[in-house]
Symmetry: C6
Subunit: 87 residues, 6 copies
């Protein structure tokens, strides 16, 4: 997972509350990458590894799974972005 | 996971709210693929990899698992598509 | 996972609501297989792969895990099949 | 996972409701094995495979994880076996 | 996972209710090991395997994941050990 | 996962309740590492292994997943750090 994106929160404090599922998915991606960079903070190493995992189906599916778990958390945080008509 | 489908939301904004479990499963598949394309946006690479993972039992099971996690999120979002008689 | 079963819903629309945990487990199996066939729809390929994964302990455990995640969803959908005496 | 136990429910219909966490853990084990036998019903094959996975640390940990997911479901079904004093 | 600890509940019946997150984490570890010993009860085999998995990063991470799933269950059981001031 | 951080709770008892998602993510990292050190307490072994897993994409993704599961627990414990305006 490309780590640069994890830091591109343009200084905004981390929040799980978003306006839409699309934004929520972005936060999930950010959190998944934050999990990687917290274990391996060296951007050069991560950049080198990107070439490996971004062409490995198993790693791509495993990354998608980490995003899925975080998206489940963010979706619950936003009450699934239900509108009144959905309730 | 065939990425083309992830973009076939014909321009509709992403939503977790659907009319049926069947539609909900489609959204789960779409989200699982979105997790892959967010890490590897290059469609040609994904198309090449498809030939590998679509014939690998472990990868097929792992893909099904990512869909299962997203389906759990979508099902909760739709209160499990319960009808009044189910409540 | 033997995909034929995923389509044997004898035309009934997909529903998470069942009368018993046993039926709920069947729906979980059906959903797990649906996740496989949505990625690899070719029945011949799936039949060929069945010979591989059905004798591989890791694949059997991984399949059981996908079923477990779907069963968690179906069980919540049915309020864990609690009867009044259980409440 | 030794499949014989999955069928030793002495004819009782499958239920998630139990009197204690210990019994709940037994149901979780039963469900995890049911997920294996639903994919591979041949007891002889399963018995042969047992020799492999029961001495493989990765497979033992993976089995424990499937049980953990089912135990989470069973624990929620039983309101975590809370007594009035716990509420 | 060192199985001896799974039995060190000094005869106390298994309970998910604990006084603190720290104790809750201990129960999660105990449940994760119980999942292993339910599949492989032979302590000698487990002791031999310990030498392998306790030096294998993938196995250590996988064990931590099983504990994480059980801890999620135990934390929910204890309403996340919230005090009145947290509510 | 670098185990030193798991003990750097400067003596404070483990708590899931934090002021922000950022702090919650730190607790999730701490819990994920606690899961590793509970299985392998030997710091020297862990330090040696760090060199391996911190450069292995699969291990980095798997670590991120354990953190994701714990973060889901911590987020629920803190009601997703919703403010009144979010309710």
């Amino acid at each position: 997972q490309d780590s640069s994106r994890a830091d591109s929160t343009d200084g905004e404090p981390l929040s799980l509350i978003t306006d839409s599922p699309e934004e929520g998915f972005e936060v999930a991606i950010q959190l998944a990458r934050k999990g990687v960079t917290s274990t391996q903070p060296d951007k050069e190493v991560l950049f080198m590894l990107r070439d490996v995992y971004s062409k490995d189906p198993d790693a791509l599916i495993a990354s998608s799974q980490v995003i899925a778990i975080h998206f489940q958390t963010v979706a619950a945080a936003n009450n699934y972005w239900r509108t009144d008509s959905d309730e």
